[in-house]
């Protein structure tokens, strides 16, 4: 081996991490611009990784996974027996984003969330966008996530969506928004946990890159929630409402409550009396001002929504309507991340902000329209079809990966209720090197940055970067076997 650091022109030694890495020009590669030619900002990472012995890298991977299990950084997959606690696999090769790219993402997200909050205030208020015919009225009013109960409710600062986790993908054409996730987005704890593990594993490199910090997320979240408090209270009582330990994201709820220094409560810890919400403490009842809820709308309050809910608090919505407590996110935000409404977000941005959207949308065919339905059914094998109200990768058909029988069955489902489906082209998701048994191999990735909105909009420079661990797979959802990796945003 030569003593000098390697450059892209030299052949790689057989045992090197990247010896078998195949650059594929069909997909944007996050690390390479050509075969064995790392992008400028990834060169140091490449040099260091390539200089490490395979055992060293394997040990690093093993350490990271063990630390996850020890700390109990687990999530549950619904519908799987015996899979109560599983760790989200972590991949130890970080993905790097340069300052200019991050700046663009950040501006795009700020623009999008501003428009979506205005949109929600409008459809639960005067409904101008509907009467102006920009969006079909029936699509909004018929959406199961539209909460008629929210009509006329005054929401502090007009902030319906205080927290969102937007899924972004990158193709050779640039970044696109895949989903907005405006209800109870999760993943932020994995972003922070991945960072913790990687900072320890690649300490020297981490310092050398001067990776921008994300650890203050808990502070920002608390500050954001404080700003939404119902009255001008100096130190509002904030709680995080979790469905409990059996929820797939319980680790995250616990983690965030601790980061913020607030109580982690379940429905049975809270009660409503005289229009105020209280929590049961060992020294009596204490008034609650802000609830960061990680419980779905349906289960928030059995008196207002699903009467069989065991997770919620009877009377909570009443207290909310009176303005005595703030619920973040507000009930009813799901209508804005419905997959058919998604298709209109560029129009929503133009309508409220008179600006062109910075982040592109994925081409979406609505099966509720005859054209869209016909196109979808004719091209099933080339499309990804999703149900409008579902998330987490449940209930979707990935055309190219499906069998004719699966497609036939799915087509029948679509025809039963076309308005419930949309289709999108299969996206050429970007790839990043991931550690596999054969060294580094390209795997498809996306990213989910988290946007907070209180008095102002705030983001930490980081994201939960999801990875499709199966070779060639495009499905990155944690519930479908995806993993995560750390995202390093570089300073200017």
């Amino acid at each position: 081996m030569p003593d000098s650091p390697q450059t892209g022109d030299e052949p790689l030694p057989e045992q090197s991490l990247f010896a078998d890495y195949r650059y594929d020009p069909r997909f944007y590669d996050e690390m390479f611009e050509a075969q064995a030619a790392p992008r400028e900002h990834c060169r140091d990472l490449w040099n260091v990784l390539d200089g490490m012995a395979p055992e060293e890298i394997a040990a690093m991977q093993e350490r990271a996974e063990r630390s996850f299990l020890q700390e109990g950084i687990t999530f549950a997959v619904y519908g799987e027996e015996g899979a109560q606690e599983r760790i989200i696999p972590i991949d130890v090769l970080p993905r790097i984003v340069d300052a200019a790219t991050w700046d663009f993402i950040e501006r795009g997200l700020r623009q999008r969330i501003r428009a979506l909050n205005l949109f929600l205030a409008d459809i639960y208020g005067r409904g101008r966008i509907l009467s102006d015919g920009v969006i079909p009225v029936d699509m909004i009013l018929g959406c199961p996530q539209y909460r008629i109960e929210m009509r006329g409710v005054s929401v502090p600062r007009g902030i319906y969506v205080a927290l969102c986790g937007t899924d972004l993908v990158r193709t050779n054409d640039g970044f696109m928004v895949l989903e907005d996730n405006l209800r109870v987005p999760s993943g932020v704890s994995y972003m922070l946990a991945n960072r913790g593990a990687m900072r320890a594993a690649l300490n020297k490199l981490f310092r050398q890159y001067r990776v921008r910090a994300i650890e203050h997320y808990g502070n920002l979240l608390r500050q954001t929630l404080s700003e939404l408090a119902p009255r001008a209270i100096a130190d509002p009582c904030i709680v995080l409402l979790t469905p409990g330990v059996h929820n797939s994201a319980y680790y995250e709820h616990m983690f965030l409550a601790r980061e913020m220094g607030v109580e982690l409560v379940q429905g049975r810890d809270l009660l409503v009396h005289d229009g105020f919400v209280y929590m049961r403490t060992i020294s009596g009842l204490r008034k609650v001002d802000v609830i960061y809820r990680r419980v779905d709308d349906d289960f928030l309050d059995p008196l207002a929504f699903r009467p069989d809910s065991q997770l919620g608090v009877p009377g909570l919505f009443y207290a909310y309507r009176l303005g005595n407590v703030v619920i973040a996110n507000a009930p009813g935000t799901g209508v804005a991340d419905d997959k058919s409404v998604y298709a209109f977000v560029p129009d929503i941005i133009r309508y409220y902000l008179s600006e062109e959207p910075l982040l592109a949308n994925v081409d979406t065919h609505l099966c509720r329209n005859p054209d869209g339905l016909e196109y979808t059914l004719d091209n099933l094998e080339n499309l990804v079809v999703k149900m409008v109200g579902e998330s987490g990768g449940y209930g979707m058909l990935v055309g190219p990966a499906s069998t004719p029988a699966q497609r036939d069955a799915y087509a029948k489902e679509i025809l039963k209720d076309p308005a419930n489906f949309i289709s999108q082209p299969v996206l050429d998701l970007s790839c990043a090197p991931c550690l596999t048994e054969k060294g580094a191999s390209p795997r498809h990735v996306d990213l989910r940055p988290f946007v907070l909105t209180g008095r102002e909009t705030r983001l930490v420079p980081g994201a939960f970067c999801r990875v499709a661990l199966v070779e060639g797979s495009l499905v990155v959802n944690s519930s479908q076997g995806g993993g995560g990796k750390d995202l390093w945003v570089l300073p200017e």
Partner: protein, 325 residues
């Protein structure tokens, strides 16, 4: 502090204390296996089972053959029952699992180190079976588990903020300890009545279970007289496993957590009353009257059980109508 969190902390330490006590019982029993006769062992197994309020599998103890194979076959089955039996709610593994489940519920109020130590303890025994631990006569498993439990309390001791959460952890620990010590002493008197000729080792092992053997020799005597041993384990104020010591810690913690909670006076009063009776009535008892001693132990145990109910009703599941706001 959220009631549910206080309850979680209280039960973490109750379950861990219970598991630790179970381990200690088996560990001391294993020492006996080294050199005692089958008949003697039967009696110490009986003491162990009676103190846990449990029937051995098959419903009875009592071997009638004086051979080693039989003896170890017995120990194997009983070890499995005490350590891993899924239907034994108080088995070591079930206790550790329950403690961990409670910890999972309150993870945001305990430190990472506390959680990690408990989580590792659980993960280490989750998939074990008795044959995995039998190779070293199972002793190592019980010793290591006790070490880990002590490790957990050590971390708590060194890292927890001394607010109400800490005191609920203390309460659980000492309420549990007071209860199992009364049960153990009662079982001892049942199996080894003081009026029969006593074998010193049966009383020495009792002291060993309570980590009191050395202290007893130093402070009292080298003669293990039943009455003196019982008295030491009940009323000594400086012995960490005596009933009196547990009551003192219960009272101390109740004082702190009831500071802003008048509802809880009942619990505090009950703990104080038992402690006072140990200070003033207990010394006047007839040490030879086992029935009277056992009746006293029974009433202490009863008081501890009601103390638990008081704590539940005052702090965790109180009625909303009579609560201060």
């Amino acid at each position: 502090m959220l009631s549910r969190n206080a309850q979680g902390l209280y039960w973490i330490s109750r379950y861990l204390e219970r598991a630790g006590h179970g381990c200690r019982l088996v560990q001391i029993q294993y020492r006996a296996l080294q050199d005692r006769t089958v008949q003697e062992l039967d009696r110490t197994w009986l003491r162990l089972y009676r103190s846990l309020g449990r029937e051995p599998l098959g419903g009875r103890l009592g071997s009638n053959r004086d051979d080693d194979d039989f003896l170890f076959a017995d120990a194997y089955t009983l070890t499995d029952d005490l350590a891993f039996e899924p239907n034994n709610a108080d088995s070591i593994r079930n206790c550790i699992a329950a403690a961990r489940e409670n910890a999972r519920q309150v993870r945001n109020v305990i430190g990472n180190e506390m959680w990690t130590s408990l989580n590792l303890l659980y993960l280490g025994m989750r998939d074990l079976a008795v044959q995995d631990i039998w190779a070293d006569r199972a002793g190592g498993f019980f010793v290591n588990t006790q070490d880990s439990i002590r490790g957990f309390f050590g971390i708590a001791d060194n890292s927890m903020y001394r607010d109400n959460g800490w005191h609920f952890l203390q309460l659980g620990r000492f309420v549990e300890r007071a209860q199992h010590m009364t049960a153990l002493l009662d079982a001892q008197l049942e199996v080894f009545p003081t009026d029969r000729r006593h074998v010193e080792r049966d009383w020495r092992s009792l002291l060993q279970i309570a980590f009191a053997r050395v202290a007893y020799s130093r402070m009292k005597s080298l003669d293990f007289q039943p009455g003196a041993v019982i008295d030491f384990l009940v009323s000594d104020r400086l012995l960490s496993h005596s009933i009196r010591y547990s009551l003192e810690h219960i009272s101390g913690s109740l004082d702190v957590v009831s500071e802003r909670r008048p509802l809880a006076v009942g619990a505090r009063r009950r703990a104080g009353r038992v402690a006072a009776s140990l200070d003033y009535d207990w010394p006047n008892r007839d040490p030879g009257d086992d029935a009277a001693t056992r009746a006293t132990l029974g009433s202490i145990r009863d008081a501890c059980r009601r103390l638990n109910e008081d704590i539940e009703a005052s702090y965790f599941n109180y009625d909303i109508e009579d609560t201060p706001r």
